[in-house]
């Protein structure tokens, strides 16, 4: 039993960590693109922004379970199978990347336009403005977004577990729901709550520590 729970926790953490990393690898550039092409952005481009925004909205509006089933042929193509924690990651990444893109976009929107004007006046290139002004100035907000993303992914990963993804969600459904083993189900829930709390507290502290603009 304990072994099972340890394995489940490990799988959940593995799914969340792996999909967070890849969701950010895709989501940060996408969010930057949304931000710089928006009205008043450094490379304002209305039609691109509109079209790209729609793609992201469509991806975001698909319910996760549907998405997971829908992309399973694609998943099989990439990881060779459609079940298990690694396979679940594909769906988690596809679900989280557009979410991250919007979070990054809103973090970047918080930056004072004057700071970007100042950088332009110093002779910064667009690349320098993005990499050395926008992203670094948005770090505290990006860290808060990261905590929202990981916690959302824990929820999704539990859903993925329910349809063959493994992890704590899988255990909760198999033991709790199918076998009426309430004790096991409660333990998995407590474990999930603990993981969420630890992540929240850690990232809150981190966001506060890295933010130099509030003291």
């Amino acid at each position: 039993m304990v072994e099972l729970l340890i394995k489940g926790t490990g799988e959940t953490l593995y799914m969340v960590a792996l999909s967070t990393v890849f969701a950010y690898l895709l989501g940060v550039p996408a969010g930057v693109l949304l931000s710089v092409t928006s009205k008043g952005g450094i490379v304002e481009n209305h039609s691109f922004n509109w079209a790209f925004g729609w793609v992201i909205n469509i991806l975001r509006s698909l319910p996760f379970i549907i998405l997971m089933v829908f992309i399973s042929p694609f998943t099989r193509l990439i990881v060779g199978k459609a079940i298990g924690p690694t396979a679940a990651c594909v769906a988690l990444i596809v679900a989280a990347a557009p979410f991250v893109a919007r979070l990054v976009e809103s973090s970047l929107a918080e930056i004072d336009a004057g700071v970007i004007d100042a950088a332009k006046c110093m002779g910064a290139t667009n690349r320098q403005i993005i990499l050395r002004v926008m992203l670094p100035e948005a770090i505290p907000s990006l860290v808060r977004g990261l905590s929202i993303t990981t916690i959302t992914l824990i929820g999704y990963s539990a859903m993925a577990g329910a349809i063959g993804g493994g992890g704590l969600g899988d255990i909760a459904i198999r033991y709790g729901h199918h076998r009426y083993d309430t004790r096991t189900m409660l333990i998995t829930i407590v474990l999930l709550v603990i993981i969420v709390c630890v992540i929240q507290v850690t990232f809150d502290k981190l966001a506060y520590r890295v933010d130099k603009s509030n003291r």
Binding site: D112, G114, V115, D117, A118, A119, K120, C121, M122, G123, A124, T125, Q128, R132, V133, P136, E137, I139, P140, V210, D211, K212, S213, N214, R215
Partner: protein, 249 residues
């Protein structure tokens, strides 16, 4: 040194076009401390944003030492920008970087080696009297200190011109005085030409050798500060002067 010819700037707003500047002509000479004064909404910031290349004129031209802004693009535009320093009303410092890193920032953008940039930045911080704040973050400074950092930052690439948009309007009168003294020193000791936008006649009186009065998108008066203020021609100049007398009256 700076030549503005028939500059017009029109913004397209939802409610229709807004003309922020109409047929402005101006020539700023090397070594000037040139004041541009006017009421709120007159078009002062728009003029400064055109001078600093943040806005492109709808009509007319601006040139620095005979080089027309509109003929430049890419790397040339970046080089032009490095010849000018800009100081903003709201400081616009990088909040996540230290004072020292802020002053080093334009240099590091330009690819100056770190050690050299640090040395130069420390020199400038010493000049503005903030060498002991090098490791602080902007959030830990007062308004006057932030503006000094912004001035040091604007000077780091050794610009020939310093463009200031209401650099003191967020500061109290004593702090204003010290910032103006600093700007005056920069002009006389470093031979940097200064353009200063303001709505306070006292700022112009304190340091500007020349002044242009702007009202409702147009220049109404221009000349040496002494002459313009001794014999104001336009109502708006009289109004600005009158207000000042009342304040001290």
């Amino acid at each position: 040194m700076i030549e503005i010819k028939h500059l017009t700037k029109t913004f397209q707003d939802k409610s229709g076009p807004i003309t922020a500047l109409r047929d402005v002509n101006l020539s700023i000479e090397k070594g000037d401390i040139f004041g541009i004064i006017g009421m709120s909404g007159a078009g002062k910031s728009t003029l400064l944003r055109c001078l600093s290349t943040l806005e492109t004129p709808t009509e007319g031209s601006i040139s620095l030492d005979g080089v027309d802004y509109s003929s430049l693009s890419g790397q040339q535009l970046i080089e032009l920008r490095r010849r000018m320093g800009v100081v903003f009303q709201g400081y616009n410092l990088l909040m996540q970087r230290t004072v020292l890193q802020n002053v080093m920032f334009p240099l590091s953008l330009a690819g100056v080696p770190k050690e050299k940039a640090r040395e130069r930045a420390m020199q400038l911080l010493q000049m503005v009297g903030l060498e002991n704040k090098a490791a602080s973050y902007p959030a830990q400074l007062s308004g006057g200190q932030k503006q000094r950092v912004a001035i040091a930052r604007a000077l780091s690439t050794s610009p020939e011109v310093l463009l200031c948009d209401e650099p003191t309007s967020a500061l109290d009168s004593l702090t204003t005085k010290s910032v103006l003294e600093l700007l005056y020193d920069i002009n006389t000791k470093l031979h940097v030409t200064i353009v200063i936008i303001t709505h306070e006649i006292a700022v112009v009186k304190a340091i500007c050798n020349k002044v242009a009065v702007i009202d409702a998108a147009e220049f109404v008066e221009c000349g040496s500060t002494k002459e313009v203020f001794a014999d104001p021609k336009s109502d708006i100049t009289k109004l600005l002067l009158g207000r000042e007398e009342k304040k001290h009256g």
